[in-house]
């Protein structure tokens, strides 16, 4: 099992292997491995701590385009642009979701620090966007009001 898994990991380059392994084992040797710890946190504070982003400076260089009022919380388009020089990654957190961390985008050489993604917003909540640049986190917020929740039946 372990040997097969290792082979698979190598072949896949930067991804996790078998379904079982993905659920049970957190491979530490793969750079882009899914950050189970951070994604599993149930409060904003814990998620930020897990990301080492508990302190972040407010920034006007992070632009968030999201609807002020979203009728359907299951599909809320969020468009993010970072004008911070050398933005390395963008992190999206929906503060009041059961698991606040929604996505993390790593921008390598050649990528523009821009992303548009549809997210679920369980109840009216701040969308918190962190941008990592020059080894520091910067933060911007945008409130989204939801009339129909996005998580659950």
């Amino acid at each position: 099992m372990q040997i097969g898994r290792r082979k698979n990991l190598k072949r896949a380059g930067a991804t996790v292997a078998a379904a079982l392994a993905a659920g049970l084992v957190r491979p530490r040797d793969v750079r882009a491995a899914w950050n189970k710890d951070a994604f599993g946190q149930k409060t904003l504070a814990d998620a930020l701590k897990s990301l080492n982003a508990a302190t972040a400076a407010d920034s006007k260089d992070i632009l968030i385009d999201a609807p002020q009022i979203a009728e359907n919380g299951a599909v809320v388009p969020v468009e993010i642009t970072s004008n911070l020089p050398a933005t390395k990654s963008i992190v999206v957190l929906i503060e009041k979701n059961p698991f606040p961390l929604a996505a993390k985008f790593d921008f390598l050489e050649g990528a523009v620090p821009f992303v548009k993604v549809n997210v679920k917003v369980g109840e009216s909540s701040n969308v918190r966007v962190l941008a990592e640049a020059g080894g520091k986190y910067y933060v911007a917020l945008k409130e989204v009001k939801v009339t129909i929740g996005g998580c659950g039946g």
Partner: protein, 103 residues
């Protein structure tokens, strides 16, 4: 198995504007089916965007991304004929990848 992705990529100068649609249920693990049983969590975890075989964007996402996710990305330094490859991996180990040539 997973349905194919749809990629739409356009070039504006040397910046590739990429939109991708992935077919995936993105189950949160919080919904119940008609008989009241929880539907197990099933969602895309990792997404990789490559230009000519080189990773440019690596994303990790959670179940909070909407069903049949749509992403937009931008990649600079691209030119017509470049190969753009997008792949994902979900929490059950399913994977999918699609390639397109920029035009």
């Amino acid at each position: 198995m997973a349905d194919p992705m749809k990629i739409r990529a356009g070039l504006k100068g040397d910046v590739a504007d990429v939109r991708v649609l992935m077919n995936h249920p993105m189950e949160t693990g919080q919904r119940k089916d008609s008989s009241g049983n929880l539907i197990p969590v099933h969602f895309i975890q990792e997404i990789t965007v490559k230009l000519n075989g080189k990773s440019v964007i690596e994303a990790q996402v959670s179940q909070a991304v909407s069903r049949n996710p749509v992403f937009s990305f931008r990649v600079k330094g691209a030119k017509a004929g470049d190969r753009l490859e997008i792949s994902w991996l979900d929490n059950k180990g399913d994977r999918n990848s699609t390639e397109t040539a920029l035009a």
